[in-house]
Amino acid sequence: MSAGVTIELGRRYKFAASHRLHSEKLSSEENSRVYGKCNNPHGHGHNYVLEISVSGTVDPATGMIVNLADLDQFVEKEVIEAFDHRSLNEEVPAFRDLVPTTENVCIEIYQRLQRFSKAKLERVRVEETGNNAFEYSGERDENGNVD
């Protein structure tokens, strides 16, 4: 039986952006040591892949947790327009004072998408390259519930 199963819908998006890993709290030697070539002064870029999962009740009339058009429109406006073909350091306000590592990019995207009202955001996964990926599902207590 399917009673009690959890169903999530997953969707992947792409954006290309530049960044530079540099902390004002560290000396230039420390920055260079900690971030290596990611600290190069003029930055560099990646083709990021964003994967999100949302949950909710499957509407019997539509068979959907959420209409994809609504989800796509929200993600497009909140994330893709704000991040795609931009410098994360210069053009995304959150990264004025926060190093745009993909850990922090994940958290920032989670916070933006958490405002989506038509389904519950479960998880954000960001692939910086095909070889590294980061996931964030909010801060949770010991029972796995979102704080």
Binding site: E8, G10, R11, R12, S53, V58
Partner: protein
């Protein structure tokens, strides 16, 4: 606990149409997925079984056994079929990724007797998928 995943692919056609709604509403809600002659996808299915490896065989579940279950329950039912017309389990439901994956969960769950069905992930395209998790299991 060890999690074992097997992947299969099947090709099927479908369309989204709810007879309780007007033609205009169907078009509005489902967009091009409402085109009357349907369209198709190459679906990719990942099935994850959780369990302890058997001390004698070292296996959670014999992969061959899982392959046979997937062949019988999913491939024979859905591969090269029209999901709206050829799959009785989907009758009366819109064959979205959410509903197909739940039907697959219901077909597989009673058949997996070694280990426990943990997760079904169904990709409709590489950028769109649904996950079904076993009751109480928190996504890893």
């Amino acid at each position: 606990m060890v999690y074992l995943t097997r992947k299969i692919e099947f090709s099927a056609s479908h369309l989204y149409h709810n007879p309780a709604m007007s033609a205009e509403e169907n078009k509005l809600v489902f967009g091009k997925c409402n085109n009357p002659h349907g369209h198709g996808h190459n679906y990719s299915l990942e099935v994850t079984v959780a369990g302890q490896p058997d001390p004698v065989t070292g296996m959670v579940l014999d992969l061959k056994e899982l392959k046979d279950i997937l062949e019988r329950e999913v491939m024979q039912r859905m591969d090269h079929r029209h999901l709206n017309y050829d799959v009785p389990e989907l009758k009366g439901q819109i064959p979205t990724c959410e509903n197909i994956s739940r039907v697959i969960w219901n077909l597989l769950e009673p058949k997996i007797t070694r280990g426990r069905l943990h997760k079904v992930r169904l990709y409709e395209t590489p950028d769109l998928f649904a996950d079904v998790y076993c009751p109480g299991a928190k996504p890893a």
